[in-house]
Symmetry: C2
């Protein structure tokens, strides 16, 4: 089983959109997929028709079980989605209180230890992270076998990327593994001068970690979220889904199935 | 002195862009303005040319002073900006650890108590919040005299708005004040069907709290962030700055200077 974390502490760069589209494409390719929503705001959970304010079981329960010294049972909190071959471990708003536990020992490995218990049931896990470099993102970075970083190709979004990549390096060193990382330009508008210039700067600074294509701006993605269907199922022939399909090829090369 | 908080736990909806543009417009109208960056990611701080990773003093120091029982001295942490009449209380990445203190008594009023000490030096304070409903946002809601909520007019961004507005109501009740709130549609693209439909739903659900205009998509705003100048100073005649100027009129009517 492989675990792909979709992270960036900058908000609104397409993390949730990337997570659900990659998950849908992998499910269409007949991989067994688990989506995990680690954002207390619960965009991925709402996208799939559930309410993070009212949900009874979620990622939050895994942290509670750990604090209470109970056995981890992640399969008890997984729900099916409308898409065949794609399950969800949802979020709840209570997840926002996890940040307070950041100082407690062992909290950084809750996700890694929970997901290890599911390794025979899924081929790929896709983790959606919150827009904050805190305990939940550290959990995602500590569990993943590959990191995908969606980035808006503009000035504000490129600040602070070093910080996240440094955190990833630190975690990878302590795990004594090397974790491939792909920076993915999203919401890319070829017509804007600022987009092209920032993309050049990104490539100069991060070299081969930057994917050689971009995800274009595509209103079909917004319509898909309104319809509650992954873009791969709602508009499989759209430009953005085609681009995400190319990205999936690239990510599978970096991190093939076990 | 009046305090306007710009908040929404959804990421990438234009909080920082709204904060810096309103601040610039108010400074151009000869009000004495203080911008406050309460986002550990420090977009506002980077926008104005400072580095949140390396900065020596910031909002973080106010929380440290409170925990250590020292006297609050916010003026010691304020810096000037390139714009006349606009000062900044910057962020630092260390601010991300504040969330751990959320359970400690009295942490919710650090900003309100600090800003009260500056009431003779500024006419308007504009607070930029992080994309998370945690201790830092609660501080902003507890300090403000008016709340501005930028919202992307699309499905994912409207989820969870109730949660934030309920938190605001709760804080206003405990302060025994009524806090005006304006929901501002941002990055609005008239050509997209999904945008128009969601805007109708927003108005149906939130009535007069939704501002009667929208902030259009305008690439001049992205260029301004690259130039490190507030949009009001970089492109004062642009469509977006004109729209923000109309918004400023509306907000000044709701919350005139003392
Ligand atoms: N390629 C695209 N074309 C058009 N719209 C897009 C595209 N990618 C994402 N979006 C839209 O941009 C907005 C932000 O995307 P999304 O919510 O996925 O970002 P995020 O990084 O997960 O945000 P947050 O930081 O709040 O978690 C959403 O409204 C989404 O529908
Ligand atoms: N009206 C607009 N037209 C074009 N681009 C815009 C507009 N408003 C904001 N942007 C761009 O959209 C992106 C998101 O804006 P911004 O960073 O202000 O959002 P935010 O809500 O502060 O994000 P975060 O949740 O990370 O704090 C930025 O790249 C900004 O330049
Ligand atoms: Mg998201
Ligand atoms: Mg911001």
């Amino acid at each position: 089983m492989k675990i792909w974390a979709i992270s960036n502490q900058k908000g609104g760069v397409g993390k949730t959109t990337t997570a659900i589209t990659l998950g849908g494409i992998l499910a269409n390719r007949k991989f067994r997929v688990l989506l995990v929503d680690m954002d207390p705001h619960g965009s991925l959970t709402s996208y799939l028709g559930l309410n993070p304010d009212e949900i009874s079981f979620s990622v939050y329960n895994l942290f509670q079980d750990r604090v209470a010294g109970r056995m981890l049972r992640p399969e008890a909190y997984v729900v099916n989605t409308a898409c065949e071959g794609m399950a969800l471990l949802p979020s709840s708003t209570a997840l926002a209180t996890i940040e307070r536990l950041a100082g407690v020992g062992g909290m950084g490995l809750v996700m890694a230890n929970s997901l290890a218990l599911l390794k025979d049931q899924y081929d790929y896990v896709v983790l959606d992270s919150p827009p904050m470099l805190g305990a939940l993102m550290v959990n995602a970075l500590a569990a993943c076998t590959q990191l995908v970083v969606p980035v808006l190709s503009e000035f504000l979004a490129v600040q602070g990327l070093d910080r996240m990549l440094n955190t990833l390096e630190m975690i990878a060193r302590s795990r004594k593994v090397s974790i491939p990382c792909t920076i993915v330009p999203t919401l890319f508008d070829r017509r804007t001068r600022a987009s092209q210039e920032t993309l050049e700067k990104l490539k100069l600074r991060y070299g081969s970690r930057v994917w050689d294509q971009e995800i274009p701006v595509d209103t079909r993605l917004r319509e898909a979220s309104q319809a509650g269907l992954p873009p791969s199922h709602y508009a499989p022939a759209s430009r953005a889904v085609q681009a995400y399909s190319n990205l999936t090829d690239h990510l599978l090369q970096n991190d093939p199935p076990t």
